[in-house]
């Protein structure tokens, strides 16, 4: 069920009651996880676990330290408090140290589901079984992963702040591969309420891509018009959203410094294309998240609106230095679309490539926010508005800045998982011109 509010309050009070430092902040997380993995159409591991984590930061003036543990017995908590207080007393002063966050009012989050919390471990097996059988019947090998996370989390501090929120989610992804290994397809979904989990279309989508991507041919790399499915868009957008940071820009070491002239501010500048809009909103039902970040309330925030940079993240210390408002980072990311179906997007492309999934994205050049990565699990040639066949995968070198500048059309947003994190994203597929496909990958 996750950490209940009563238990959270009792534990926070107990820990804060032990603290003798000038100020303190406690954070708690308790819950259960289920991880079901399968490969070659058989379950390879299925695990359930429960754990609690307790963290404590204390300060004596500007001297601070933090500690965390998963032991919550009286003796363990006393030891934790004594330890962190000793550490803080020994720590040199940090001129940038900040007092705990002031109490605030938080909206009730909507990313909780009793049904997800109460699902039995066997429920996951019964949901996954038909998808595995679907793959067996189609003659493909499938590998997949279902992750059910149920958490209660709390934050409290010596200024009187207390916030308790719960979250639940179920994510599922699978990769279907043809027996010869020459075709591969991937699909995913993520829901808050397990009753909304519909795995059959996900399985069908992955299998269809696997079969369609067999015997890919090589296509010359180069700057190309691409249709990016939502998962690929999600991976690329996430590379930019965390770099929208005020302090990095003020210190001259942000990609934004290269986009605006010396002495000019990027906020309010039209740095991207008209179709680029990025918003975060913890209460968006299509991809909800917690309504605070470290005790700072999260509200609907427009980061980029029709190409204009509207907001940068601002930490508490930097806000004080610059006399500007604090702005926490996003808890989710929403990008509106034009409503076109994927087929309608493809129909707008005379000569291009359909990219369904990306992989191993890593920053190459922070100055330009250049990232490299690869396509995988279904890449297709588009000619005269139609998918004409599979092509071999590509390595790309591209900046999300360019992508947001070169959007030609967008589709219907959907909630999809990314390749390396599970933060909620609700984004559309995009048509992007001049996407830099750098070389061909033999991987299939």
């Amino acid at each position: 069920m996750g950490l209940t509010e009563d238990k959270a309050r009792e534990l926070c009070d107990r820990i804060l009651g032990l603290v003798r430092a000038d100020s303190a902040e406690v954070w708690l997380s308790e819950g259960s996880e289920q991880h079901l993995r399968y490969a070659n159409n058989d379950i390879t591991s299925n695990s359930v676990s429960r754990r609690i984590d307790v963290g404590l930061s204390v300060s004596y003036g500007k001297r601070s330290a933090s500690i965390s543990t998963n032991q919550t017995g009286d003796e363990a908590l006393r030891t934790m408090v004594e330890k962190v207080q000793t550490m803080a007393r020994l720590a040199p002063e940090d001129p940038e140290s900040m007092p705990p966050v002031e109490p605030a009012t938080y909206a009730d989050p909507i990313n909780w589901s009793e049904a997800t919390a109460n699902a039995a471990p066997g429920d996951a097996i019964e949901r996954v079984r038909p998808v595995i059988e679907q793959a067996r019947a189609a003659g493909v090998d499938s590998a997949g992963y279902l992750q059910r996370l149920v958490y209660g989390m709390a934050l409290a501090n010596s200024r009187g702040l207390f916030v308790h929120q719960r979250s639940a989610s179920v994510g599922f992804s699978l990769t279907a591969r043809t027996g010869e290994g020459n075709g591969s397809g991937w699909a995913s979904t993520q829901v808050t309420d397990i009753r909304d989990l519909d795995l059959a279309p996900v399985g069908e989508r992955a299998i269809r891509k696997a079969l369609a991507s067999r015997n890919a041919v090589e296509r010359a790399p180069g700057r190309t018009t691409v249709v990016l499915e939502a998962s690929a868009v999600r991976d690329l957008i996430s590379l930019l959203i965390w770099d929208l940071d005020r302090r990095s820009f003020d210190e001259g070491r942000s990609f934004l410094n290269g986009l605006v002239g010396e002495g000019k501010d990027p906020v309010g500048a039209s740095l991207f294309g008209d179709r680029a809009t990025l918003v975060s909103d913890p209460l968006a039902p299509e991809a909800p998240c917690a309504t605070h970040s470290g005790g700072l309330p999260l509200n609907r925030t427009a980061w980029i609106e029709k190409g204009v940079l509207k907001t940068l993240e601002v930490g508490r210390f930097w806000a004080g230095e610059k006399k500007i408002p604090v702005q926490p980072g996003p808890g989710n990311v929403l990008m509106p679309g034009d409503g076109a179906t994927l087929d309608e997007l493809i129909s707008q492309v005379d000569d291009g490539v359909l990219i369904t999934r990306l992989w191993y994205l890593r920053q190459v050049q922070p100055q330009t926010l250049l990232y490299t990565g690869l396509t995988r699990d279904g890449t297709f040639a588009i000619r005269d508005g139609k998918v004409v066949g599979p092509v071999k995968n590509f390595r790309f070198n591209e900046s999300p800045v360019n992508i947001l500048r070169q959007i030609m059309a967008s589709g219907i947003p959907e909630r999809v998982l990314g390749s390396e994190n599970d933060m909620p994203f609700h984004v559309p597929p995009l048509v992007v011109r001049d996407f830099n496909l750098s070389s061909v990958s033999e991987a299939s």
């Binding site: 902040e25 997380s29 490969a39 070659n40 159409n41 299925n46 359930v48 429960r50 754990r51 609690i52 984590d53 963290g55 330290a65 933090s66 500690i67 965390s68 543990t69 962190v84 000793t86 550490m87 040199p92 940090d94 001129p95 900040m98 066997g122 097996i125 059988e133 992963y145 989390m153 210190e251 070491r253 410094n257 290269g258 605006v260 002239g261 010396e262 998240c289 917690a290 980072g329 992989w359 890593r362 190459v364 250049l370 490299t372 995988r376 699990d377 390595r395 070198n397 900046s399 390396e420 994190n421 933060m423 830099n436 750098s438 070389s439 061909v440 990958s441 033999e442 991987a443 299939s444």
Partner: protein, 544 residues
């Protein structure tokens, strides 16, 4: 949001670390086996009573501390400790696993029941039952040899050493600098129904720093990170690495890099230092030769591999110079341990992955060897926390020195007409079957006519794993061997993070594809050259 993300983002200390001369408590001094007697018997007996054909029981305690300083400020002093246990069972041909932090006989019995229940729920529709080999029983204790236990070193000493690094960088003109030190102790206790009872302890440390120089007028900046690797070692690693000399050198090199000519893309010869090559070994040899990947177990996340079992003993993976060996026994190795998390003894199980250029073996965990006609696991199982299912993870995987011990990096550079000498690891990426890779670095020295000739910028090398290793035509001798590595190799779903070391000597590679990263970002490279070079009058740009 994932729990770990939430914790990270709600931490007031951000990056953080700790350290004080803690009094070692009685509980910490005792072995895990002594602190929790009879738990294994309770868990394993319950699992067997419920029908498990095999079961193991793990207790894991992880203690970590870290310290982060920025310029002259100490911004993170943090400690973390976790303790818990798991029961893994094989029942009716299927795995079941349950974990928790209730270290009582009743608690572990309940875990055994949960593990059996979810294993049994797969009965009746599996395609193929899981089968495992019988392993020898081991009883014993293994402890990693280190110099100075970092958990006994005072906070003051650690802070002063890190601040001294930053002072050295600032004195040389760095605009920004940071330094950090991480230390981890893992204690593991394993019991299984083969009869093993094993207790182990190991320590690892990671000292590092980064510097940044800024040209505000041009809106440009450049950074250079330390070349110091993490090690399976004690505090002596931070003490003995000459950071006070490296920090000002890093500032000079960052400044020189920012002003250097932009590289001309094309085929060039490379000499690669161990501080860069360890990561290339990791990605192009380490991951492709994981047997679980090759068999499709990781297809949904990390991917599969070009290196399939049918290529054993036949694939020419590299030139005849190339021998790459795996072990979990190397001194200071991050993967070094006495027994893996399946209970396989690691001593005597060192093996060649590539021998004189030919692919010879995979890395394996329990239940995998028979699938390629081998008798038993070679000891590569690892779980990163008490609630993680053990999976195959990398041992230390290292490029062996050339046969001539007198060969130095200078000798390798002398054999290059036009090329680049690369130090330090930067960006890295490789496809899901490990063919196509792309790496950058920290420092790129131009080589002309057998000598270093200034620096280059915007360099990345890209290629195919096998083609790359076949292009190796020179290796440093044994005295040039260095151990690199990482704390954070990711694999699996949910993702597990493993520490691993890779030894290497400097090596020379012919005709490697070089990219210009500024051009890849869509910049006018001619303009980049013009902006950064004042020695090229009359030309739009400067390609090196």
């Amino acid at each position: 949001m994932h729990r770990r993300d939430w914790l990270k983002r709600t931490s007031a200390a951000g990056v953080a670390l700790l350290a004080d001369r803690w009094q070692v408590t009685a509980a910490a001094a005792a072995t895990i086996g002594e602190r929790f007697p009879n738990l294994a018997d309770a868990a394993l007996a319950r699992a067997k009573a419920l029908g498990a054909s095999f079961a193991d029981f793990h207790i894991m305690q992880t203690d970590s501390e870290s310290l982060f300083v920025r310029e002259e400020m100490v911004q993170g002093v943090d400690a973390d400790s976790s303790l818990g246990c798991s029961v893994r069972v094989l029942v009716d041909g299927a795995w079941g696993f349950a974990a928790g932090d209730d270290l009582s006989p009743e608690g572990v019995s309940r875990l055994a029941e949960s593990a059996v229940a979810i294993g049994r729920a797969q009965a009746g529709w599996r395609k193929r039952p899981v089968e495992i080999e019988t392993l020898p029983a081991h009883t014993g204790r293994w402890e990693q040899a280190i110099g100075i236990d970092p958990f006994t070193v005072t906070l003051e000493e650690k802070v002063e050493r890190l601040l001294a690094i930053n002072r050295a960088a600032l004195a040389k003109g760095a605009n920004y600098c940071n330094a950090h030190f991480s230390q981890v102790r893992e204690r593991k206790w394993l019991a299984n129904t083969f009869g093993s009872r094993i207790e182990q302890s190991r320590v690892r440390v990671f000292p590092s720093f980064g510097v940044t120089v800024v040209d505000e007028k041009k809106g440009e900046f450049a950074s250079r990170s330390s070349l110091a690797p993490p090690r399976g070692a004690g505090f002596e690693h931070l003490r003995d690495w000459d950071f006070i000399a490296e920090a000002p050198l890093a500032v000079e090199q960052a400044r020189e890099k920012m002003a250097a000519p932009s590289v001309r893309p094309g085929k060039l010869d490379l000499v690669i230092a161990p501080s860069n090559l360890w990561l290339t070994i990791h990605e192009t040899v380490g991951h492709p030769t994981e047997l679980d990947r090759a068999l499709g177990y990781e297809a949904n996340f990390a991917g599969t591999s070009f290196c399939t079992p049918d290529k054993l003993d036949s694939l020419q993976y590299g030139s005849e110079l190339v021998t790459i060996r795996a072990d979990r026994t190397a001194d200071n190795g991050l993967s070094t341990i006495g027994y893996d998390d399946d209970g396989v003894a690691t001593e005597g199980r060192e093996f060649a992955i590539v021998d004189k250029g030919v692919f010879r073996n995979f890395q394996m965990a329990l239940g995998q060897a028979a699938l390629i006609g081998r008798e038993s696991s070679n000891g590569c199982a690892y779980a990163d926390s008490f609630d993680a299912f053990p999976i195959q993870r990398m041992p230390n995987i290292s490029l062996q020195p050339g046969t001539d011990p007198s060969v130095t990096v200078t000798d390798l550079i002398a054999g290059v007409e036009d090329g680049i000498y690369i130090e330090g690891n930067g960006s890295w990426s490789i496809d899901q079957q490990r063919y196509n890779f792309q790496f950058t670095g920290q420092v790129f020295h131009r080589i002309r006519e057998g000598r270093l000739d200034g620096m280059l910028r915007d360099v990345a090398y890209q290629g195919n794993s096998v083609d790359f290793w076949k292009a190796c035509d020179g290796l440093g001798g044994a005295p040039t061997y260095e151990l690199g590595g990482a704390f954070n190799c990711g694999k699996g779903q949910p993702q597990q993070v493993a520490p691993v070391s890779h030894g290497a000597v400097p090596a020379r590679f012919r005709r490697v594809n070089i990219l210009n990263t500024a051009a890849e970002a869509g910049k006018d490279i001619a303009a980049v050259g013009k902006n950064t070079c004042n020695c090229n009058e009359g030309r739009l740009g400067r390609w090196a």
